[in-house]
């Protein structure tokens, strides 16, 4: 018996006399295995959009495949705070006490806000053969649920249909963002309604009811964007398709696109706190505001 043979014999015995392990790996059977598939939770899309002025911008979107339900409150949102000649408000978007979702005042249960397929997107322009970032936005394929906010200043698009308070025979028409005099503006607006003298069909954005929004409308997705040029962003259809021929036009600065799918009167949009009111509680301490019966 030479050394090599002894070494081989030793190795063989080592295998025979190893301490038995009681832990074991259990194979997954075919039926169970078949239930698993590759779950791609991220999609990346790149596309061109022809703008209203016939120029073309390229876009890159990263989408997270996710369904989110949430009750979230935010004390203060101020986006785009800088000097902007001709406007009194300091910020493009200035919102106090923004709440997504609310608390059912009778059952004390959360009624969540639902967000589907959130995304982040960059916009590029071609500047003499050099590719430059000209904007970015954060949005969602679709949203629905209760939204409560005290809006001090809004740059953007607030999609809501106004059913004329004093003229029920007139067809509903899209609300406009207004300044305090009732003049239409989509920059640092403080009021909402039909352009005029703000004596009727015109309400302040800082006293709104809780809105039950549902963006499955022609107004496109809910998003916040920043861009350094006036830029059209593509709408997302309800099946997730990006429609490059249907754009939300945004202006330079910070911009909030807020589709609601609501048709109502301006009176019904005015927030009424307390019992029988239309402002939903969003914190359990809202009892102090009389928001629970």
């Amino acid at each position: 018996m030479n050394r090599a043979l002894l070494a081989s014999l030793s190795a063989l015995l080592a295998c025979v006399y190893v301490v038995p392990a009681t832990a074991e790996l259990v194979p997954v059977d075919d039926v169970e295995l078949a239930s698993y598939s590759g779950q791609a939770i991220i999609a990346i899309d790149e596309y061109d959009v022809v703008q209203a002025d016939s120029s073309t911008n390229n876009f890159l979107r990263v989408t997270l495949g996710a369904d989110i339900e949430t009750n979230t409150t935010i004390d203060k949102v101020q986006l785009g705070t800088y000097d902007r000649a001709g406007y009194a408000s300091a910020s493009d978007i200035d919102i106090d006490n923004l709440s997504l979702g609310y608390i059912d005042p009778d059952t004390y249960e959360y009624v969540p806000f639902e967000i589907k397929d959130p995304y982040m997107e960059f916009a590029f322009s071609d500047n003499g053969g050099v590719r430059e970032v000209v904007g970015m936005r954060f949005g969602a394929g679709s949203v629905s649920g209760g939204l409560t906010a005290t809006i001090n200043s809004l740059t953007g698009n607030f999609e809501i249909m106004i059913d004329h308070d004093n003229d029920p025979n007139t067809a509903p028409q899209p609300a406009q963002l207004l300044d305090s005099t009732g003049a239409a503006t989509d920059i640092r607006a403080t009021h909402l309604g039909i352009a005029g003298d703000c004596s009727s069909n015109c309400i302040s954005l800082n006293n709104l009811a809780t809105l039950n929004i549902n963006d499955s409308t022609a107004a496109g997705d809910m998003f916040v964007s920043y861009q350094n040029i006036d830029l059209g962003w593509a709408k997302t259809l309800n099946d997730g398709t990006i429609d490059v021929n249907s754009l939300i036009e945004t202006s330079q600065g910070a911009f909030l696109n807020l589709p609601t799918g609501i048709t109502t009167t301006t009176d019904a949009l005015i927030g009424v706190p307390g019992a029988g009111g239309n402002i939903k509680p969003t914190r359990y301490t809202d009892a102090a505001l009389g928001l629970f019966p």
Partner: protein, 409 residues
């Protein structure tokens, strides 16, 4: 011959050991506090290479398996991924209206011996953990340092907490680099990333390069942590119905960077257009608050990931125990509440629960400065256009459930 025989004998007569490692109970684990590892990386730098097809060193990361929403494959290439000290990269002016992204990582220390990155076992009964009777695994970045006795980064505004020499609040223990002095513990990181898109489903051609370059300067993450524990055992005031048999978590992400640059560059990082500049980015993000409102990580039966931040418990029937203690009223009416109950909700909503934070904040620039400019307050600049400062302040997740689903073709 003696050695082989001895070897053979040792195998034949080796003792079979039945000693076993016994799991510690949660009670036993919860008595352990602060035992763990401190990690400090000194003179550290990392650079993951450049595209070999362009004649460089290689070592490019490629990510496959991602698709477009219409089902085409997307190939993600990342190169120039780096972590280093101050000045590890720069956009060098080409003199023709473009710049080139050049990476030459310097070294940095990540963590200090007196404030290292830590992996430790925490006592869940600690006031800043609030997972009673549980042993909690914590992975934490270096500590915040108390000034004037205040142990918590107030986080409600950028000043004075994030600036050198600030008083009246906590500050980061990781120091800025000093030219000719110490390296500091704040690190630069960044990467070039390029998405290439399959021409059509089944095609072997990839087109439409879509490159982005990200450069984050002197980032500091002090005070960030992830805490994990299990909840298989009902203890304390929990009833059996409270058992979730899940991994529970609390996550806090603190980050401050004086500057972030995002640009779109050509091959090899050249021909970059004007970058997006974010000057003074600060965030303090909270996901889960102790066992009052833990985050729960799980996988659904169909294989998707789920993250839930448990709903804040509502006032319930009088005397019914909940995770926050015994509720003495069945009405969410502050006038009927016992003092402890009222205190709990008011403290939660006011972010004044001792030891823990319940609200998140995000700042781009210093929003406390009136009539801000990019030079004075920082903020967001896209190309030559200043788009101001921005903030999202006092964000409180009272409930959230995120469930992923299959997307992409």
């Amino acid at each position: 011959m003696k050695r082989p025989v001895a070897l053979l004998t040792s195998f034949l007569f080796s003792a079979v050991s039945f000693a076993e490692l016994s799991p510690m109970t949660d009670d036993a684990m919860s008595e352990v506090d602060g035992e763990g590892l401190g990690i400090v990386l000194e003179d550290y730098s990392f650079h993951a290479g450049t595209d070999i097809n362009a004649g460089n060193s290689g070592a490019v990361f490629e990510i496959t398996g991602i698709k477009t929403s219409d089902g085409r494959d997307v190939l993600i290439k990342t190169d120039n991924f780096f972590i280093g000290g101050k000045g590890s990269a720069e956009f060098v002016d080409n003199g023709d209206g473009t710049s080139s992204f050049v990476v030459n990582p310097t070294t940095v220390n990540i963590g200090r011996l007196n404030n290292p990155v830590e992996i430790s076992q925490r006592d869940g009964d600690d006031i800043d953990v609030r997972a009673p009777n549980k042993g909690v695994l914590e992975i934490a970045m270096p500590d915040l340092v108390a000034i004037n006795g205040d142990p918590v980064w107030t986080g409600h505004k950028m000043d004075p907490c994030l600036k050198a020499g600030a008083a009246e609040c906590a500050k980061f223990s990781s120091r800025e680099a000093v030219d000719g002095g110490y390296r500091g513990e704040r690190f630069d990181f960044g990467l070039d990333i390029n998405a290439q898109f399959q021409e059509s489903i089944g095609s072997s051609n990839y087109t439409s390069d879509s490159p982005l370059t990200l450069y984050v300067k002197e980032a500091v993450f002090d005070g960030s942590y992830i805490r994990l524990w299990g909840d298989e055992t009902a203890t304390g005031s929990e009833s059996a119905s409270d058992q979730r048999n899940l991994t529970l978590a609390n996550i806090r992400l603190n980050m401050y960077t004086p500057e972030v640059l995002i640009a779109s560059c050509g091959a090899n990082g050249d021909k970059c257009g004007d970058p997006v500049q974010i000057k003074h980015l600060a965030m303090d993000l909270i996901v889960g608050v102790g066992e009052i409102q833990p985050a729960m990580l799980s996988v659904t039966p169909d294989g998707n990931f789920q993250l839930e931040v448990e709903a804040l418990p509502p006032p319930t029937a009088a005397g019914q125990p909940t995770r926050i203690g015994t509720i003495l009223s069945d009405q969410p009416d502050a006038s009927d509440w016992a003092a402890t109950e009222k205190d709990f909700y008011e403290n939660y909503y006011n972010d004044t629960i001792p030891g823990v934070k319940t609200k998140s904040n995000l700042y781009i620039g210093d929003p406390t400065i009136a009539n801000p400019t990019f030079e004075t307050a920082g903020g967001l600049k896209v190309g030559d256009t200043y788009l101001g400062t921005s903030k999202i302040e006092g964000l409180q997740i009272q409930y959230m459930k995120l469930t992923t689903h299959d997307i992409g073709g």
